[in-house]
């Protein structure tokens, strides 16, 4: 049971060696399981059709980039880059909005006493649990009425609201960690509350802003349900475009996986950048 208590340094020698080997094996097995599907995606995007459908599966082959070329340049009508760009616009706008509005709300909740403060805070947190599919019908009708179907604006507003709950909660925690005296000092030094928010508080929670911005970006980038209903056509984001492949009878797996790879890899890079605050973000500050 030596792994029950982390970092327990027990008996030296052969027993430890065997134990460490077992730990390495188990860890590598799990990592392998985690990476295998990604490996499949990337390799399939580099295979020919023949290699894709081969039985037994082909493990060693010469990669070719034809699928990427097809996805980006040759495909009839819109190509993947159009939808990647849509995704980028929606992601950046909604993340920026969510972080700014969320930071304002978080600061208001962290620094001002007023009746109902806790209720507002908990309400905002509880929207994290709202099932998107439960809201899709009314939101679809609202968007349709306002003539915003298949526009990026509709997605930006919906994603902003989706991201607000955790942005607000995480940043509220960050603001609470600023010693109140620093802000009082600025008050004495001649700054208004709004200026203190902009010039003292915000710079001090920069790591929190970065973490929430990246998390918002990931959620917006990955969101599928609202995108598929609210922006099915020209304004579609990359997951909607990706889903379109599966509807056709003869799936071009190479191209499919090439688009998938392009949709997934940027986020992987983000993930590595964000390690430090990832947990805090994913659990809205409950675990650090």
């Amino acid at each position: 049971m030596s792994t029950i208590v982390p970092d327990k340094k027990n008996a030296v020698g052969a027993a430890t060696g065997a134990r460490n080997l077992a730990i390495y094996l188990a860890a590598c097995l799990f990592v392998g399981f985690g990476l295998f599907p990604l490996y499949m995606m990337i390799t399939t995007s580099l295979k020919t059709d023949q290699q894709t459908f081969a039985w037994p599966p082909v493990w060693l082959f010469t990669p070719r980039f034809q699928s990427y070329y097809n996805a980006l340049f040759v495909f009839g009508g819109r190509s993947a880059d159009h939808y990647l760009f849509n995704s980028l616009v929606v992601t950046l706008s909604s993340s920026a909005l969510a972080v700014f509005l969320g930071a304002m709300a978080a600061y208001g909740l962290a620094r001002f006493r007023f009746r109902g403060n806790r209720d507002v805070a908990f309400y905002i947190l509880s929207t994290r649990f709202a099932p998107p599919v439960g809201f899709i019908v009314p939101i679809y009708l609202m968007v349709q009425r306002s003539g915003l179907l298949d526009t990026q604006i509709a997605l930006i507003v919906v994603y902003t609201s989706m991201n607000l709950s955790f942005v607000t909660w995480i940043l509220r925690g960050f603001f609470l960690e600023i010693p109140i005296e620093i802000e009082e000092a600025a008050l004495v030094d001649g700054y208004t509350r709004w200026q203190i928010f902009l010039r003292v508080a915000l710079p001090l929670v920069r790591p929190g802003l970065a973490a929430t911005a990246i998390l918002s970006a990931i959620f917006s980038w990955n969101e599928f349900l609202f995108a598929s209903i609210l922006a099915p056509g020209d304004a579609a984001t990359i997951p909607v475009y990706l889903a379109g492949f599966s509807a056709s009878m003869n799936i071009d797996w190479g191209e499919y996986m090439a688009v998938g790879t392009m949709a997934v890899l940027p986020i992987m890079i983000f993930t590595l950048a964000l390690q430090r605050h990832l947990v805090r973000g994913l659990t809205f500050g409950a675990v650090r």
């Binding site: 990604l38 600061y107 806790r118 908990f122 599919v133 019908v137 939101i139």
Partner: protein, 294 residues
């Protein structure tokens, strides 16, 4: 810091109002709107205006076998997926806590699936589970399976295949959070336990587990709620099939509303779902009092 209370209250209002406005528009108003729609017949794309029919959409749900089935399927999926992800993830958190060289790198690699676009992970697993050329069947063949296994077209297997794909993405999440929670326990706690003569097993039950309580709680609720709302894997891998075996409540609402275009019924189902999730969320908010400091 209370210079002038009225000015403070105004500043607070101005700070919070924009966010609240967005939430009212995209959260509160739609819920009320859903209630309204659920009391009407409402078919997408038909020119006839919605007609008020009272509670019949809800009454119909009680007689709707597909709805009852979807509740059962949702329950099965959530229970199995959350249990597997939690238990395996928790165990792995201990495994990855081992202070060995290279462990940090392995950990970073292990959490990569969390960030994969759920739709893309559906795509990949759809490919891997393919009956004719998928890697899963190749492994099954290597392990001595006599024939191709219909991972996605057999009723019993399909839901387990979904669980596997879901667990692939979210077990690392459980691992990551529980790992962080474990790291947050200071070393001296274990030293004290050792001084008090506790066995490792006792230390786990009496010291580690109680200290992890709030983390466990957060992870469980997040996994339950998110598994409940999951739709992307179903969209790509099974579309609710075969024969409704993977038709969860989420998928049922989606297909009632946007495949059958019956918005009135879909809204009624949505209201039921929102209330169910709200109850879970409320328990969570009540139990977890970490926001006490305002």
């Amino acid at each position: 810091m209370a210079a002038s209370k009225r000015a403070d209250r105004r500043t607070a209002l101005l700070l919070i109002a924009p966010a609240m406005l967005v939430l009212v528009a995209i959260n509160i108003y739609p819920f009320i709107y859903a209630l309204y729609i659920s009391l009407h017949t409402f078919t997408l794309g038909r020119p006839t205006p919605p007609r008020y029919i009272g509670w019949s959409n809800y009454r119909d749900l009680l007689d709707d076998d597909r709805f009852i089935n979807s509740l059962w399927v949702s329950f099965k999926f959530v229970a199995i997926a959350a249990a597997v992800e939690f238990l395996v993830g928790f165990a792995l958190a201990f495994l990855f806590s081992a202070k060995l060289r290279g462990m940090a790198t392995l950990r970073k690699l292990a959490i990569l699936p969390i960030m994969v676009m759920p739709l893309a992970s559906g795509l990949i697993w759809f490919y891997i589970f393919n009956e004719n050329f998928g890697a899963m069947n190749w492994f099954a063949f290597l392990l001595g399976a006599p024939h191709r296994i219909p991972f996605l077209t057999d009723g019993k297997l399909a839901i387990l295949s979904l669980v596997l794909a879901d667990a692939w993405q979210w077990t690392p999440f459980v691992m990551l959070v529980m790992f962080a929670a474990l790291q947050a326990i200071p070393e001296y706690v274990y030293e004290a336990a050792k001084m008090d003569g506790l066995t490792p097993w006792q230390t786990f039950w009496r010291v580690t587990l109680p200290l992890l309580r709030s983390a466990i709680w957060v992870v469980l609720v997040l996994r339950v709620v998110d598994a409940f709302r999951m739709i992307e894997l179903i969209y790509l891998m099974t579309r609710g099939g075969p024969g409704g075996a993977t038709e969860t409540l989420s998928w049922y609402i989606y297909s009632t509303g946007f495949l059958d275009q019956d918005l009135g019924s879909a809204a009624a189902e949505a209201v039921v779902m929102i209330i169910a999730v709200s109850i879970i969320a409320q328990i969570f908010v009540r139990r977890l009092n970490y926001g006490a400091a305002t």
